[in-house]
């Protein structure tokens, strides 16, 4: 019998990549459930499409690279990419959109860079940005939440809508986008930006039905659900608290400042935190272990960068949400951040200390 001598810490959990990825997927489930309840079943169909495409694409590339496909599929990273992309795109987007997007995420963004662990960019977000740039129309056809939809869609309708862009009873997506009063609706973030650009004040814009509640109909609950899932991940120590706290903290700080400075043209900090994909980004997307910074200080810097960028893109950009662009831009800075925030090795002096 041999005694293994190991240095501290002695009491630790070592998880395989596969377990971590699976836990992240599990933590998404509350958010997905709320999204499906409040925005229709489309998201579930997108999930099925995305996951199957992700697995197929991964298996295909593994075959091309002459590596065992099954063992790679078991690391669940393709599954996670598929899930993240499926919940980011509009629930009734046409089926080929998610197929192209997932294929792009797995093949081009992940595998062509060398596979899991080597990709520079977050695959799901890079694919989201690709889709947004290539198919701006389809990528912005968000439906209002179920309570505001004039026509309610059952599961069969959702399948029809995703595959043919018409519900089984023959309503087109643009008809479905209109609310009860027949006015077509976008997401709260989009509506707000359009209204503010049109010269309305915040209070005037907020009169619209899409804005009931703090952060717009339905979006508050979706964000709360992702927040819950994210807190679970921190509790289980799957992700470090630094990135989410830095993202949310910096977004809160800058939106509070802007709100205090000009409350008529800037939404409240709570609206910023609980609208769009803020929580999803902070807990699930920015914390991607491959494309995020790896040092403690670096993670904070990286998170702060994402938070500020989300605010700036939401305020000045022309897209529905700023999360994907913010994450990609921050991904680019990661090598630099990591280089300058390398922790001091124990027993060595800090760089420049002896000067």
């Amino acid at each position: 019998m041999s005694f293994k001598i190991a240095s501290s810490p002695h009491n630790r959990i070592s998880r395989s990549t596969s377990e971590i990825m699976l836990l992240v997927v599990v933590a998404c489930i509350p958010g997905i459930a709320v999204q499906a309840l409040l925005f229709g079943y489309g998201v579930l169909i997108q999930l099925v499409l995305a996951i199957s495409t992700a697995w197929l694409a991964e298996a295909l590339i593994m075959r091309l690279r002459a590596k065992p496909a099954l063992s790679r599929l078991k690391d669940h990273s393709a599954l996670l990419t598929g899930v993240l992309l499926a919940i980011s795109i509009p629930p009734y987007a046409p089926w080929w959109l998610i197929v192209i997007g997932t294929f792009f995420a797995i093949v081009i963004v992940k595998q062509l860079y060398g596979g899991l662990g080597n990709n520079l960019f977050n695959p799901a977000m890079a694919a989201y940005v690709m889709l947004l740039i290539a198919f701006p129309l389809q990528m912005t056809q968000w439906l209002p939440s179920v309570s505001l939809q004039a026509e309610s869609l059952n599961v069969l309708d959702a399948v029809c809508a995703v595959f043919t862009q018409y519900s089984c009873s023959g309503f087109s997506i643009s008809q479905l986008q209109s609310g009860i009063d027949g006015v077509s609706m976008a997401t709260p973030l989009d509506t707000l930006r359009t209204d503010l650009a049109a010269g309305l004040t915040l209070t005037e814009s907020m009169q619209q039905p899409v804005f009931y509640g703090i952060a717009g109909a339905g979006w508050l609950w979706v964000n709360l659900a992702y927040l819950a899932g994210g807190l679970m991940l921190i509790k289980l120590r799957v992700i470090s608290w630094r990135i989410p706290v830095a993202v949310l903290g910096s977004l809160f700080l800058i939106s509070t400042l802007s709100w205090l400075a000009a409350a008529d043209s800037n939404p409240s900090p709570l609206f910023q935190l609980f609208s769009g994909a803020t929580m999803l980004a902070a807990f699930f997307i920015a914390t991607d272990p491959v494309s995020a910074s790896t040092t403690d200080k670096g993670r904070i810097l990286y998170g702060v960068l994402i938070g500020f960028m989300i605010f700036i893109i939401r305020k000045y950009g022309g897209y529905p949400d700023g999360v994907a662009f913010a994450v990609l831009l921050a991904n680019m800075t990661v090598p630099l951040i990591d280089y300058y925030t390398r922790p001091r090795t124990y027993g060595h002096k800090a760089r420049g200390a002896d000067k």
């Binding site: 081009i108 062509l112 690709m130 740039i133 290539a134 198919f135 701006p136 129309l137 389809q138």
Partner: protein, 232 residues
């Protein structure tokens, strides 16, 4: 004579494949990526580049003994610029539609490093005939890459081939337009610069794959017969 044909064949292999300006030297990427949205544009710019390259290589080769080496680069640029002006005026006169759609990229042929590269690396050291052949082959290699990339992007982007060919080749060429499939929405990525970069990367990968396969086959052949196949 056999020596001559050998060297011509070598020049062809170098220009079209082994040292292809687009795929291997990666020269002239700016027009390569910018104008390959359709086959017609690619073909137009490829032909223009080919003509300029041919003219400049021949003239540079003719004056190579007269030009002092200290000022050779400005002289080469002047020669290239005059040919570009000629081509630009010709395109303005005969293919006005294409002239408009290529826009700034015709005058920018002056800055195409593939051309000055050939002038400096080949034409300034060789006789007129090899220089002309070299220009022809390099230009053709560049043209082929442009057309391949243009075809890829046009098919993916709008599902057609030779859209607007009449702008380049005259009215009869309108029949060349092939509609492979009708798309409700264009795949904008293929039409935008990122699509060009990705497409270019895929083309280079394809070339490297073919090269690797060829080498493998060659090695196998060598292994069996134990004879040298190449003279190198």
């Amino acid at each position: 004579m056999s020596d001559n044909t050998n060297s011509i064949r070598e020049l062809a292999v170098q220009g079209l494949w082994r040292n292809n300006p687009g795929l291997v030297q990666l020269l002239g990427l700016c027009p390569l990526l910018a104008v390959t949205g359709t086959v017609t544009n690619a073909l137009g710019l490829g032909l223009a580049t080919l003509l300029v390259l041919l003219g400049s290589n021949v003239v540079v080769s003719l004056v190579r003994t007269v030009v002092p080496s200290e000022i050779r680069i400005p002289v080469f640029v002047l020669i290239i610029a005059s040919f570009v002006t000629v081509v630009q005026l010709l395109m303005n006169a005969y293919t006005f539609g294409l002239y408009q759609s290529l826009g700034i990229f015709i005058p920018l042929i002056v800055t195409n490093c593939a051309i000055i590269g050939r002038a400096e690396a080949f034409a300034s050291k060789n006789a007129v005939l090899p220089s002309a052949v070299d220009a022809l082959m390099m230009g053709l290699g560049f043209l082929l890459v442009l057309v391949a990339l243009g075809a890829m992007r046009e098919i993916l982007g709008q599902g057609t081939l030779f859209d607007g060919a009449d702008l380049l080749l005259g009215d009869w060429a309108a029949v060349l337009r092939i509609e492979l499939f009708a798309l409700d929405t264009q795949f904008l990525l293929a039409m935008l610069p990122p699509g060009a970069f990705i497409g270019m990367g895929l083309l280079i990968a394809l070339k490297n794959l073919i090269d690797a396969r060829l080498q493998q086959r060659q090695q196998q052949a060598v292994g069996i017969t134990r004879a040298r196949v190449t003279t190198q």
